[in-house]
């Protein structure tokens, strides 16, 4: 077990390492393109550290499991980063702005920190550092992969952090496009390792069938517990109400027997069972088979989870790699790494049934699979593995 607090400390530490490394390796880019001088870089290091420390303060109970219950406003579905920024702008405003160290040395406004969290343009040219807080090579990801691996007792999330830190670069702008974070050519295997670590952690831990089942139950129970079945908005009227919803409040309500069917299943560890899961990379035929399964299982299916909707989804990575010999030559990581070139987003679909329906569901699934095999045989395709 580990907490968001120790993760937040880890993100602050990792952001410090990355920032310092970029400062050393890419001083010309920082100066020429962003107008930085030594004093400004000293100051903004502390700003980035604050943003890294506070990036998760807006998390709802049980973090990403309940993020689907964030409200939608003007077509925009809120994310936990929006809540983090709102909390920094309001609840933490005085804590930040009146802190003696800040008053004497930096003069940061809470808005300066919040802007790095939610991407407000009040961040000015410092928006460049947002990639360290929330990007493909951010300190958050670098910390949670290692930390979650360690605490889950697996090795999947391990990669060479030191090598990534030693080779991270600010990539100069090309063809008028903005500078961005990347890696030097000598570090592309380390970047590849980071991408693969995320892939493995997703498939083996974050989207593990049983862990996902508990997401379903946590979300379902919270839906029962929350007024209007969603979290309050991150605005001045409702933020205080949102802050009352912490892990302890929810655990207390669950212990009191609230949370409906999902609450009861959490309390008794009687989770939904997987009836059918599509391949990690599902093509059109695989997804058509999921449709068949869903149709045949009918009302037995009580939950359906798609990896493409998961917060941890892996997407299609593309990290810029800058040549060690010619700094004006930048190529994508996929140009160097055939593994990354061939990576596709994971779009696995999981269909769940209640525990007492497992046997019947398995029978139906076997029937659908047999039909599928027969169809393939009829078209002349060999079934099974040769």
């Amino acid at each position: 077990m580990h907490t968001r607090f120790e993760h937040s400390l880890g993100v602050m530490h990792t952001a410090t390492l990355l920032y310092s490394a970029i400062r050393n390796s890419s001083a010309d880019v920082l100066q020429d393109e962003l107008g930085y001088k030594g004093e400004g870089l000293d100051r903004d290091l502390q700003l980035v550290r604050l943003a890294a420390l506070l990036h998760d303060v807006g998390h709802s109970p049980f973090s990403h499991a309940s993020e689907e219950l964030f409200p939608v406003e003007n077509g925009k579905k809120y994310k936990h980063g929006d809540y983090s920024a709102a909390i920094v702008r309001t609840e933490l405003k005085n804590v930040i702005e009146d802190h003696p160290l800040n008053v004497t040395n930096y003069g940061f406004k809470a808005e300066d920190v919040a802007a790095l969290l939610d991407g407000s343009t009040t961040a000015k040219q410092r928006i460049f550092w947002r990639d360290l807080i929330d990007g493909q090579m951010d300190a958050d990801r670098m910390d949670y992969l290692l930390r979650d691996s360690f605490h889950a007792g697996v090795q999947y999330g391990r990669y060479d952090l030191n090598r990534v830190v030693n080779t991270v670069r600010a990539i100069p702008s090309t063809r008028g496009r903005a500078s961005r974070l990347g890696i030097s050519e000598g570090g592309w295997h380390a970047a590849e390792g980071l991408v693969l670590a995320r892939y493995f952690m997703f498939t083996q831990v974050y989207f593990h069938k049983t862990r996902v089942a508990y997401d379903v139950h946590l979300r379902g129970a919270l839906k029962e517990l929350l007024p209007n079945k969603q979290f309050p908005l991150p605005n001045s009227e409702q933020l205080r109400e949102y802050l009352k919803w912490d892990d302890w409040k929810v655990l207390g309500l669950l212990a009191d027997g609230q949370g409906g069917e999902h609450g009861a299943r959490l309390a008794s560890r009687d989770h939904y069972r997987l009836a059918y899961g599509s391949p990690e990379i599902s093509n059109a035929t695989d997804l058509a088979l999921v449709d068949d399964m869903r149709k045949e299982l009918g009302s037995l299916v009580v939950a359906e989870e798609e990896s493409s909707s998961s917060w941890y989804k892996t997407g299609k990575p593309d990290i810029p790699v800058v040549s060690d010999v010619d700094p004006s030559t930048v190529q994508p990581l996929s140009k160097h790494s055939p593994i990354v070139l061939n990576m596709m987003p994971i779009n696995k679909v999981l269909l769940y049934v209640r525990p007492d329906a497992t046997e019947k569901a398995n029978e139906i699934v076997r029937g659908v699979l047999e039909n599928e095999r027969n169809k393939q045989s009829a078209f002349g395709f060999a079934s099974g593995v040769s």
Binding site: E33, L34, G35, N74, G75, K76, K77, K79, G81, D118, G119, S120, T121, A123, K124, Q125, I127, F128, R130, D131, D134, G135, Q136, S173, T174, R175, G176, R177, A178, S179, R180, I281, N283, A284, L287, S308, K313, G315, K316, D318, S328, T329, V330, Q331, P332, S334, K335, M344, P345, N347
Partner: protein
């Protein structure tokens, strides 16, 4: 796959087909989606936020990867002096994807035409700048701030110091003339 996801995937080949060159890049795709959702109000469900390279949501690239895997689009890397990009073209399953969201594409055909007429000739750097201007404009509008051209120019310049204020000012003026900005001369309470 829900209706929103079908619409998002169907838009990819629809956009690539509409541009005169017959293909788009990843930056163009990202910014086109931003413009369609933010300016034209298409219900795409993306959550864009600002980076040094303009408004961005990684879900757009996830959708691109999914569309590539399902043969809705073909994506090939393109190298040029000092850098790289991607060429996104309609794939063998493009028509099937568009058929699955035929009503959505029919409802928003004029929005796509408008998008290409206004932004179709912009290069990546221009799209980064234009989308940043729209983002700043919407930030002002959200707080009911009636912004002047010089205020928008100044804020954009702070985010993108590599551009001269004359360059940014020219873009802001142009976008205002196109009716894209809402904080400069509209009644704020009606601004999106």
């Amino acid at each position: 796959m829900n209706e929103t996801n079908k619409a998002r995937l169907a838009l990819l080949p629809a956009l690539a087909e509409r541009v005169p060159a017959g293909h788009i890049g990843r930056t163009a795709l990202m910014k086109y989606m931003y413009f369609l959702q933010t300016i034209r109000g298409l219900p795409l469900g993306y959550n864009f936020s600002m980076y040094s390279y303009g408004p961005f949501d990684s879900d757009v690239l996830t959708d691109l990867g999914s569309a590539e895997m399902l043969n809705i689009v073909d994506v090939s890397p393109v190298e040029f002096a000092g850098g790289y990009g991607y060429r996104i073209t309609p794939g063998p399953k493009a028509d099937a994807a568009k058929r699955s969201a035929v009503q959505f594409l029919s409802d928003h055909g004029k929005d796509l035409d408008w998008l290409i007429s206004v932004f179709g000739k912009f290069n990546s750097a221009e799209l980064e700048l234009a989308s940043t201007i729209v983002y700043v404009d919407r930030e002002f509008a959200k707080t009911n701030h009636h912004a002047s051209i010089s205020e928008i120019t100044s804020r954009v310049n702070e985010v993108k110091p590599r551009f001269t204020s004359e360059q940014v000012h020219g873009f802001v003026e142009d976008l205002r003339r196109q009716g894209v900005l809402v904080s400069t001369d509209r009644i704020m309470s009606k601004a999106v």
